[in-house]
Symmetry: C2
Subunit: 199 residues, 2 copies
Amino acid sequence: MRDDSPSPPVDDIMCATYRALCRHGYANLTMQDIADEWSKSKAALHYHYDTKHGLLLAFLEHLFESYTDRVADPGEGTPRDRLHALVAAALDPPQADVTRELRTALFEVKAQAPHDDAFRERLEQFDRYLHAEIRGVVGAGVEDGSFTDVDPDEAATLLVTLVNGAHSRRVALGTDADVSEAIRSYIDEQLVRGESTQR
Amino acid sequence: MRDDSPSPPVDDIMCATYRALCRHGYANLTMQDIADEWSKSKAALHYHYDTKHGLLLAFLEHLFESYTDRVADPGEGTPRDRLHALVAAALDPPQADVTRELRTALFEVKAQAPHDDAFRERLEQFDRYLHAEIRGVVGAGVEDGSFTDVDPDEAATLLVTLVNGAHSRRVALGTDADVSEAIRSYIDEQLVRGESTQR
């Protein structure tokens, strides 16, 4: 975005980018596709974003903001309930803001990350944020004794990796129902202190 | 491959495909690139494989055979040792047969899977195979009492998803060292019956 431009209609452009990505996928996406969804000219789009790369970085930022709004430690309730809510939101962000098409397009962006430091940094943000939220809730559970004495950092790494793996399986294989169930069991049987841990 | 062709120099073509994928990535790969790596003409390559799609499916089959050779329940030792060996092999196939470049190219193939049933079926093979191997070892551990009373099916789903997530993080973020450590801890602290499970 240029410094001398008026405040751009960012939300509209982000929505247009969202629709264009869902419709065309990442590999074939052009600035013209995005301009078409925005119902303005390609020149108007270039006024706000010089390059497709810059626009996509802004889109990843936009997604990240929406992610942190929707995937967060609820802060209230037992650590167990908070962790279930947090992981469920990470697996399936509420308000269906991430459709199958967008998920697939983002997976393509992820496949570009090895070649693109800026993409990689934006993608790392999501994992780092989720890790910190989970670590906080697990730490609270360990502290109040409702969780077993796990290392909150390691448990968070495990859960973030499970969420990554679930997304990968959902995109590539079209399903992850068994994974959601296995993650819930992991939380209830391995993390939460209860009957099943009194072995 | 055509029925009337002589037995093709499959291994050579597979090696050429491997090198071409590492060099060019999946998105830009052409039959010419593969022919160049094979040091033969594109026509000669087309004699064996009609289409790039058919050749890539054959390549995925080839990788799957190599995968089952290298990633397998060792069958000897304690269930704990067998599980650690199996998961370590799945995270890092021995003999360095999967380089960073190939891993990235395969991730791109994975991103195509939602659009391509044949790719998806080939990719499912890897997960199904790994799941069955892990389930067998965990089942043996539960049976001989060295593991806690987990559901072997669920533990296998969790570990396969962790391996998927670790690969995804390694491709997209360039690292998964913390993940390997967290998976090892999960096995030793949550699956294997021992001091730490006598809570």
